[in-house]
């Protein structure tokens, strides 16, 4: 079966989604990531969705699940590169993904994960208020 490749950089895992995600492929990614986080003791997962043209409620939920599973396995997840049109649509759909950390691009996402691993305050954006 087709699989989305997972790259390892130190203690971080990097996923770039470039294909049109069908449901089983998204679920397969969720499985693969869970296994890899546990096996490698990864501290962070970065998912680059800049090439994704839409995020519907299924993909949104998969992203949220991955973040939640990673957290249980003691790893941080950051989703990077969501396009403005995708973000506007997702909000209109009713999904604001409150539990997910986000960053503008891969560089900022990596920076956040490295700092999170060393306990520093991050550069990612969380859903925090004052």
């Amino acid at each position: 079966m087709e699989r989305i490749p997972i790259l390892r950089i130190g203690s971080l895992l990097l996923v770039t989604i470039q294909v049109d995600l069908y449901d089983d492929l998204a679920l397969q990614l969720q499985d693969d990531l869970s296994t890899r986080i546990a096996d490698l003791g990864a501290t962070g997962v970065l998912i680059d969705i800049s090439a994704l043209e839409i995020v519907d409620s299924f993909i949104g939920r998969t992203l949220a699940n991955i973040a939640a599973i990673a957290r249980v396995l003691d790893a941080e997840t950051v989703v990077v590169g969501m396009q403005p049109a995708v973000a506007i649509t997702l909000v209109e759909l009713g999904m604001s993904l409150p539990g997910i950390r986000t960053a503008l691009n891969v560089d900022l996402g990596m920076e956040y994960l490295r700092q999170a691993a060393t306990g520093g305050d991050g550069v990612g954006t969380d859903h925090y208020a004052e």
């Binding site: 043209e53 939920r61 403005p84 049109a85 649509t89 759909l93 009713g94």
Partner: protein, 140 residues
Amino acid sequence: METVSEQIITRSEILPIRTQIDLVHVRQRVRTWLSEERFTLIDQTKIVTAASELARNALEHGGGGQMEMSLLAVGARKGIRLKFSDQGPGIADITMALKDGYTTAGGMGLGLGGSKRLMSEFDIQSSPGAGTVVTVTRWK
């Protein structure tokens, strides 16, 4: 001179919704049409997302069906209409099904309510045992 313009269908196509791969085709085909017809990127994204939600409902809750997509013209105004139909179990309480967060299948419960917000017009016909037809339209 005021004339009442008639709504005409300038293009139409029927796509099957039987497998997960069909869902991908539905999204891609709707996207192709919309970019050919020069809908804005934000409109394209909203419409494709709604199509994805409704096609998935036809597949997962309705046991499969089809989407008919039509390009509409009223005078100089253009629009796209997507009609999703299945012969599945139907929906007993439509008001309930439209509520955000309501799901009978462990989903997010945002498909129906969300696509209603993403499109200009939304119509749903369904009764238990008689299948479901959801028709949505968005004007340019």
